[in-house]
Amino acid sequence: MNAITVDHIVKTYGSKKQVLTALDDISFEVKKGELFGIIGPDGAGKTSLFRILTTLLLAEGGTATVDGYDVVKDYKQIRKSVGYMPGKFSLYQDLSVEENLEFFATIFNTSIDQNYDLIKDIYVQIEPFKKRRAGKLSGGMKQKLALCCALIHKPSVLFLDEPTTGVDAVSRKEFWDMLKDLKKQGITILVSTPYMDEAAMCDRVALIQSGKIMSIETPENIVKEFEGELWAVRSADMYRLLNDLKQYKYTESCNSFGEYHHLLLTKNQGGKEGVLKYLNELSHKNILLEHTAPNIEDRFMQLMKNT
């Protein structure tokens, strides 16, 4: 049995005059024990999807189940067995770390002691601050506490809506390590993120854009699906380089990635020599041009362009 099934879900907002489609006929399945990522930019419909699955919103069309329970009919069952961490911080800021955890444990008819094993690795990191009010914690610690609170009742499925947004790079890395540990405990995790680099940490990812799923694959396969040869380009003047490359007659797409620009040529016309010649004519200095392996973001951009 699948932990989550989503079947032709449609969600729209607004009145008849101005309809905003948040989710446009979405279907996918998440296996038990899988770490499944929903990857997409802001406004892609991630939060709407999470709210439908956690029984907080009703979809206009389609059906969905979590743990075998229907999200509309059996919402009470789902609310007992899932853990949910919303995108916005949603703990009591005026309660201490310990009080928040105790509150959520009790609300779920359990106690901290009962499931301490599950949260131990995460909780020890914030335990030195257990008397501190949640509102006074740093962003990373807030996320850890929120994760503890969502985990304390040993949920079968864990929903994490953009858990790493607004968190520093080190804490993000730690957070994903924690998720991998949780996966080992057999918990199904559905996580959303706007950061493409985090997709590689998931078992499978769904790339979502404007309410539509563009691809569902393992991170490795998503990269393999990339069509064409990709070049990494560097020069002394990166900004001018990007603009010039975009003007190049054979350029299919060119995007900036850190210290390199990723360049895709239409059917690779002209090849390396063509590009070098073009750039030399424009008197670029210290040009570096080499083959590079596409990453998930490259594929995402490609899919976005094709649709």
Binding site: L57, K80, Q93, E99, E102
Partner: protein
């Protein structure tokens, strides 16, 4: 049960860790009761009056002396001519002018009729009426004494007694009114704000995705405010008994039980407001507009309901404070028992049940 207890505990944490709400809850009642008790009373005390004595004889002197000696009036000014009357009022220092006709005592003794004119500032009709009544009764007291020396046939002497409040103290009316006002404010507004806050700070999202039942949520939200409101009732009663000298003539337990009933009505109102408001500010504004104003205007303690136009009288029936005000007046001031206030109590009970049912039905088990 554990869920319920931890929820109530959490709610108390919220209240005690927020200084502003603490201040509102515990200081406001005391402030208001003292404000209404001392400052905003409509009793007449030491009103300045002016006298235009055209007779200057034994009788007028006696009457003026009596007016001045009473605790209602102070003779502020002696006027010399009728043209001074208008001036005296225009300075705003006097509230009434007493004018005696020339040859006052003579005509009183010989023709058995003398004229004294009381001129009051009609722009404040309530005060004007009260003042002239007081002055009138002082003058007629003197008249009676004078007659006492002679026997006159056929006199009807109305003997007036003000029951329950012989001194016509305003505080007797204000204390029940302030109780109604404070309780509706604290209980209804604070409850609605407390619930809406969960929506605003997003915790509602997590609470909803939990096994917590809506009824349990609502009850555990309401309990702390019911408790705090009861504390307020005790504070108000203590202040009014020891500071304002308002007696508690009836059964104290009955008074507390009726207060509890009214608090539950107010909390239910707050719950209902929370079902259709989205932000704390909205909830606060709505509570003020929909609860405080009707309580003040139609609750019966500022303006008597009997003298309102019929439509307003009918509307006043849906204001819970009106019924509580009647109950408190009956029990606390008049010392009546439950048999006299069961109807009002039943109305409050009905309102509570109605509002609770609505808010439970309207409680959103999902977002938006």
């Amino acid at each position: 049960m554990k869920q319920f207890l931890i929820f109530v505990k959490k709610e108390f944490y919220h209240i005690f860790r927020d200084r502003k709400s603490l201040l509102i809850i515990f200081l406001m009642p005391i402030m208001q009761i003292i404000l209404f008790g001392f400052a905003l009373t409509n009793e007449i005390k030491n009103s300045n009056i002016a006298v235009l004595d055209n007779s200057k004889d034994e009788s007028t002197a006696a009457i003026i002396q009596r007016l001045d000696a009473s605790r209602y009036f102070k003779v502020y000014q002696n006027l010399q001519s009728p043209s001074d009357i208008e001036k005296a009022f225009k300075t705003g220092n006097v509230r009434m002018v007493v004018v005696f006709q020339p040859g006052f005592r003579e005509s009183l003794l010989h023709t058995h009729a003398a004229q004294v004119q009381l001129i009051a500032d009609g722009s404040d009709p309530n005060t004007a009426t009260t003042i002239t009544n007081y002055a009138g009764s002082i003058i007629s007291d003197y008249q009676k004494e004078l007659y006492g020396q002679f026997e006159i046939p056929y006199t009807i002497k109305p003997e007036i007694r003000m029951l329950y409040n012989p001194q016509l103290k305003g505080t007797y009316n204000f204390v029940p009114g302030v109780m109604a006002m404070i309780l509706i404010l604290i209980a209804a507004m604070m409850t609605s704000v407390a619930i809406v806050r969960e929506k605003e700070i997003n915790t509602m999202e997590v609470i909803l995705v939990s096994p917590l039942k809506p009824l349990l949520f609502i009850v555990s939200k309401a309990i702390p405010y019911i408790f705090l409101s009861l504390v307020n009732v005790v504070t108000i009663l203590l202040v009014s008994y020891f500071v304002l000298d308002v007696p508690i003539n009836g059964n104290l337990f009955l008074l507390m039980a009726e207060s509890l009933l009214f608090i539950i009505t107010a909390v239910s109102l707050g719950l209902m407001i929370s079902t259709f408001t989205k932000t704390q500010q909205e909830a606060q504004m709505f509570s003020l507009m929909a609860l405080l104003l009707p309580t003040l205007l139609l609750g019966g303690f500022m303006f008597p309901i009997e003298s309102m136009p019929l439509p307003l009288q009918i509307v006043s029936n849906i204001v819970p404070s009106k019924w509580y005000f009647l109950i408190v007046k009956d029990v606390m001031i008049k010392g009546l028992g439950f048999s006299q206030v069961w109807k009002e109590s039943l109305v409050l009970l009905g309102m509570s049940l109605f509002l609770l049912t609505i808010s439970l039905k309207k409680f959103k088990i999902r977002l938006s």
